[in-house]
Structures are given as structure tokens and as C-alpha cells.
Amino acid sequence: MPDATFACPKCKTAFSVEPGADHLASKCPTCASFLDVYFFPAFFRPPQPGVAPTALADHTEASCFYHPQKQAVRVCDGCGRLVCSLCSIELGTDHLCPNCISAGKKKGKIITLEGSRTRYDSIAMSLAVFGLLIYFLGIILAPAAIYVSIRHWNSPGSLLGVSKTRFVIAIILGVLGLVVSFSIMLGLGVVMFHPSRSTSTP
């Protein structure tokens, strides 16, 4: 078995490691950085050759949906189409065809492919809290918090599993913010436009 190699992350100098080693601590001779390396079995694994699709031997064999001249080896777990070894893409425990993967990524149905999510619950909470704290903006922020909570009730949230509780709290705080800001506005209006105030001025 040939020696496996790893590279220093700073200067990219390659080091060869004897098979079976599981830990190495040394200084890089080029950049003098102290390196602490832990190896896992995959490091010593020989490169896996790709499986090329085989051509159809006769017309009785099942062919790939995307490559009619190639032999089908699997059924896509998404759409059920027969696919060749080239089109069968392993994703976790499933084997999917390229179309299912691109459609799943577009619709956000394959969680493993999701690279980003918006935290609407945090947006709603922030709007509600700021609506309560800044009472004169509460008339705008509180309804916005309620709107975001209802509009994105079913939108996918964080992958880390934050529940709908934050939306419920945002709605409650939003209603409270509306009540507070209306009361303050009403109070101010009464004070400003009270008849006694206008009569007292000469």
C-alpha cells in the first residue's frame, strides 16, 4: 500500500504518512507551524474507481430513463424511474436521479441539500420587542410582527428545530405592543386636543 499524504494548511507542503498511523504531532519544516494531525481509516483507503454505466446487451434489458443505451441498475427513490449507475446519486440512504435532486433542491424538500435558511421567528420576535420598546414605532412594528408570524407560520424554520413558540410569543407581544402604542397615542391626543387646553390659551 503506498504512503498516504496530507498537506500543511498554511504552506501546503505535503507530508507522507506510514500506513496505520493514527496521530502525528510535528513542526512543518517549511513554515515552522506546529501541526497536530489525527488520521481516520478513510485516509488510508485506496481511491475508489468510478462505476461506468454498461451498454445494453439486448432489448429485453431495462434501460436508463436518461440514457436509453445504458443498462439500468437502480430505481430512483424520488420518482421511481430506472436509472443507470451514472444517474444514480447516493444521498444519505436514498438514491436519486439528477432531476429529483435539482427539483428537491429548488423546492427545499431535501434537507441535506439546504445551505441556508431565514429565521422568520427571530424577525417576528425582534419586530415585536422593538414595537414594545419604541412605543411611537409600535403602531408599525407590532402589526408587522403579527403579519410575519402568520405569513411564515408554515415556512421552514431553523434546521435546529425551533418550534412555533417564538411565533406565538411574537403575536402576543405584537398585540400587546399595539395596545400600548394605541393607548399612548390616545392619551397624547387627549392631552393635546383637550378643550380645556385650547380655552386656557389667550
Binding site: 500500500m1 496530507f6 500543511c8 494548511p9 498554511k10 500506513p19 496505520g20 507551524s33 506546529f34 501541526l35 497536530d36 494531525v37 489525527y38 488520521f39 481516520f40 481509516p41 478513510a42 485516509f43 488510508f44 483507503r45 485506496p46 444519505g92 441535506t112 439546504e114 445551505g115 441556508s116 435558511r117 431565514t118 429565521r119 427571530s122 424577525i123 425582534s126 424554520g157 431553523s158 434546521l159 435546529l160 428545530g161 418550534s163
Partner: protein, 160 residues
């Protein structure tokens, strides 16, 4: 909704680039999930256990710089003793101002050298913003070993 991810204990939270981004590590069913939180969005990066070839840590000078910074702040607070006020008042003021820096200085010494950790797979090298201390690397490696062992066959098995 119950999540399939669990936070990895004892690893801590790190800062991405820019520093406003908070990074945490989560344990997934067959992969490690890096979550980059930037206020109202979360970005995810996955490293599958079966693909990890090695974990490499490169020691950096973060501990030295942090020590110098907090040391300078403590020394700057000592300028209070030049003020023409009673010694007792100055000492209390100095303690109030420099206590957070003293804690940081001591914690920085206690936690040990800082490092940058990378996970290598066949196609990429991913930098892990956490853990930042070299002393915590064995904990991460122990966690990875428990997850990787069932996913990656031993070399002899892989060859035969």
C-alpha cells in the same frame, strides 16, 4: 418540531468571518453540521463522517495576542494610581475596571494555546471555527472517532 441535530458538548461556540457570525457545531445522523448564524439567517455546511480523512490543527499566535491585549488593558488601568485621589478609592476603581481583563488574562492562560482546526475530505478541506483551543482538540477527535468508526471500515477491510 424535533430536530435531528444535537449540539456537541464541550466544544463551545466560535466566531466566523466577519466576527458578527456565530458558529456552532452540531451532531447529525451521518454528518457534522456547521451552523453559521448571522442574525436572521443561518448558513449550513455539512461534513459527512464517512468522508473525513483527517483532522489537522495548526497552532497560531491567538493566545499570545489575546494575552498582550488584556495585559495592556490591565496596565492602562494602572494609570489610575497616578490620580490625586485616596489610595483606597483608586484601588477599588482599578479593580472594577481591570477585573474583566484579569479574568480574561487568567482564562486565556488556563485554556492554553489557540489553533485553527481543519477537516479534510477527498474533495475539500473545511476550516472549523470551533474549538479554538488546542486542548479541546482531543475531545473533538474522540467525538469524531465514535461517529466515524461505524461509518468507515478499517483499512484492512477496505483493501480486501
Amino acid at each position: 418540531m424535533k430536530s435531528q441535530y444535537k449540539p456537541i458538548k464541550g466544544i463551545g461556540t466560535g466566531r466566523g468571518r466577519p466576527a458578527a457570525i456565530r458558529v456552532r457545531l452540531y451532531e447529525g445522523p451521518d454528518h457534522l453540521l456547521l451552523v453559521y448564524s448571522a442574525g436572521y439567517t443561518e448558513d449550513y455546511k455539512r461534513v459527512f463522517y464517512r468522508d473525513i480523512r483527517y483532522a489537522i490543527a495548526r497552532k497560531d499566535r491567538g493566545q499570545v495576542w489575546q494575552g498582550i491585549l488584556s495585559g495592556c488593558c490591565i496596565l492602562a488601568a494602572c494609570l489610575l494610581f497616578l490620580m490625586p485621589v485616596p489610595w483606597m478609592v483608586t484601588a477599588i476603581l482599578w479593580l472594577i475596571i481591570s477585573l474583566p481583563f484579569l479574568f480574561h488574562f487568567a482564562g486565556n492562560l488556563f485554556l492554553g494555546p489557540t489553533c485553527r482546526i481543519y477537516l479534510n475530505t477527498d474533495v475539500q478541506t473545511v476550516e472549523l471555527p470551533v474549538p479554538r483551543r488546542l486542548g479541546r482538540l482531543p475531545k473533538l477527535v474522540a467525538f469524531l472517532n465514535t461517529k466515524i468508526s461505524p461509518e468507515q471500515p478499517k483499512v484492512e477491510q477496505a483493501v480486501t
